[in-house]
């Protein structure tokens, strides 16, 4: 029953829709649902960890006819991590989000968004993946524009149009896949594509997928919507976006390129080049920004480059690095935006020129915030560090030396940017900004709300620390995922049952 997490979020979102405008009930229910959802994810994770790949054929139609849901280690890990992020954001928004936004469907859509993500992680069907993608992007549209402020709207225009473009391309890709194979089940498609004579067409199709997912995951030269929009919504929304949305694109790329288009060398080379340029673009962008949200936005782009780099090199080690980095990045990026949200609540601005004095006034919170910040930089042995070892090792193996150079450069730029941020926001003396009339400042909030904002940061920081210090476990996990991804025969056999590798 591996669709349970999805169904649960579905029901959660639906129930929340009934409590339209009853924000207190919604807050309570959403946190409760998120906790249960996390429980289900843990349960599923353990189940798969014990038993290996698990399958649910929806409607009892055997693959490749029905829609198969496949819980492999990668899928359930992503479900688990997204549940954690989801819980954190749910709590954080209960504390920080303005009432008006909560009255207009924030929580139901948050749960639908998480449902979409988890569905995408579990589905074994390419068209179903498209549908999940659409759930995610429409939810993100709504969350992004909720409140309809000027900035939000301007950002949303770019976000919406480019994401719709990506969806359209995705659809074309699916059309081609169906045209070539007559099937939609990814495992089945994998076999059929493998037997196809006209390799060029397969390659072109994979190129379309590269661009479709590339837009969604914000890689060069398709990342433009991200810096334009991610800093515009409330930080709780940015947090879930930053942590999970772009990662969905990465997930899809990892899945499709390992399973369906495994080992297309040309695309691999392209990805390596794109990865380098993504790192560069993100890093350079972050260097210049003064708005914390924008800084983090560009850093997302930069680190997406690391993820793509691993996929481009396409060795077990590289994929392992990507997976490890992915897990780390989801937690840390979610946390970062919550941190920026907390800073915003405390100071009323995100402009680092105006910020300051955090360390003086909130030493404990500052040190707490240092954890995600320096994890992001990858100061060893914090969580961001380990994956880089794999990526560099893999780069040495595949002799992508220039890529290693870019990884080093990207890490350096991140270091510099975060150190500057630290020195500006935390060390520098703050300016007393005039208090704005609207909205509550942190100091004016109730104790409960304050805790609701701080607790998720503590939670995610603790997980970050665990990823860093307990790296061994995460490495074993990443190793298993990477082995499964690089040799999809297990996946294919599990999905198609006794049907063997011949068409």
């Amino acid at each position: 029953m591996i669709v349970l997490p999805i169904i649960f979020q579905f029901v959660a979102g639906t129930i929340l829709l009934f409590f339209w405008r009853k924000t207190t009930v919604q807050k309570f229910l959403s946190i409760l649902f998120s906790i249960i959802g996390l429980g289900i994810s843990i349960w599923l994770f353990l189940l798969v960890w014990e038993n290996g790949i698990m399958i649910t054929q929806s409607g009892d139609w055997k693959a490749p006819f029905g829609i198969s849901f496949v819980a492999d280690t990668f899928g359930v890990t992503m479900v688990l991590v997204s549940s954690i992020s989801g819980l954190a954001v749910s709590i954080f928004s209960a504390g920080s989000m303005r009432k008006e936004r909560l009255e207009f469907g924030f929580f139901p859509i948050l749960h639908f968004l998480i449902m979409g993500l988890q569905g995408a992680f579990l589905t074994g069907d390419i068209f179903n993946l498209y549908v999940w993608f659409e759930v995610v992007i429409i939810s993100s549209f709504v969350l992004l524009t909720l409140g309809g402020k000027k900035q939000q709207l301007e950002g949303a225009l770019k976000y919406v149009s480019l994401n719709l473009l990506a969806s359209s391309l995705f659809l074309i890709g699916i059309g081609f896949i169906y045209g070539l194979t007559g099937s939609l089940n990814m495992a089945d498609v994998a076999i059929k594509l493998d037997n196809l004579q006209n390799r060029g067409l397969v390659s072109v199709t994979s190129g379309i997928f590269l661009v479709a997912f590339g837009i969604k995951s914000a890689i060069f030269p398709m990342y433009f919507w991200l810096p334009a929009s991610y800093h515009t919504p409330p930080p709780a929304v940015s947090a879930i976006f930053a942590g999970l949305l772009t990662k969905l694109g990465i997930y899809a790329m990892l899945r499709t390129f390992t399973l369906m288009f495994g080992g297309d060398e040309f695309m691999g080379d392209i990805m390596v080049i794109l990865a380098a340029l993504t790192i560069l673009s993100g890093g350079l962008g972050a260097l210049l920004q003064q708005n914390m949200g924008k800084i983090f936005g560009y850093l997302i782009v930069c680190h997406i480059g690391f993820l793509i780099a691993g996929l481009g090199m396409y060795t077990e080690l590289a994929i392992m690095g990507t997976v490890f980095y992915l897990i780390h990045d989801i937690i840390v990026k979610t946390n970062l935006f919550m941190v920026s949200g907390l800073i915003l609540k405390i100071n009323g601005t995100q402009d680092i020129r105006e910020l300051g004095g955090m360390y003086k006034n909130f030493p404990i919170i500052s040190l707490l915030m240092a954890i995600p910040l320096f994890s992001l930089v990858g100061i060893p042995p914090l969580s961001g560090f380990w994956a880089k070892i794999f990526l560099i090792q893999a780069g040495l193996q595949t002799q992508d030396y220039i890529l290693i150079g870019f990884i080093v450069l990207g890490s350096f730029l991140t270091l510099w940017v975060i150190a500057r941020l630290w020195s500006e926001v935390f060390w520098k003396n703050g300016i007393d900004l005039p208090k704005k009339a609207s909205g509550l400042y942190f100091s004016q909030m109730s104790k409960t709300d304050q805790w609701l904002m701080v607790f998720p940061i503590v939670l995610l920081s603790a997980i970050s620390l665990y990823i860093g210090f307990g790296a061994e476990n995460i490495i074993i996990l990443s190793q298993r995922i990477s082995t499964e991804l690089m040799d999809p025969s297990g996946y294919i056999e599990a999905v198609l049952g006794l049907k063997t590798m011949t068409p």
Binding site: L157, V160, S168, L171, I172, G175
Partner: protein, 117 residues
């Protein structure tokens, strides 16, 4: 006939892209709609064309006696159309809202989120 449809698909894509490249946000959405239509038609075409035989089993029969059109692309396109409707209506309302708040249709005037470095 397929060739003609393919030309239309190409034209829908070309037209969609061209509109997407305009400065008016209204045209941008027209472009997206055209692209969506193009993608739908493409999927439909790639299921191969069969004339006059809808995939409906005749009364009294249990299976198809005659040829029938491939139902899968139809179902896919149907899903895509409905999803497209959701997305497009949101996008359309978005431009309305943008205009209400910002009083312009010119996308070039809507880049403050990119400008302030």
């Amino acid at each position: 006939m397929e060739i003609l449809l393919i030309i239309i698909i190409g034209l829908l894509h070309a037209g969609g892209l061209y509109m997407l490249l305009r400065r008016s946000m209204f045209k941008m959405i027209i472009g997206l709609i055209l692209l969506g239509n193009g993608a739908n038609l493409l999927i439909f075409l790639l299921g191969r064309l069969v004339k006059g035989h809808p995939p409906v089993i005749e009364d009294g029969m249990k299976v198809f006696a005659d040829i029938y059109a491939d139902p899968v692309p139809q179902a896919l396109v149907l899903t895509a159309i409905v999803i497209g409707f959701g997305l497009q209506s949101f996008a359309i309302i978005l431009i309305k809202r943008v205009y209400n708040v910002l009083h312009t249709d010119d996308l070039d005037e809507l880049n403050s989120t990119d400008e302030e470095i």
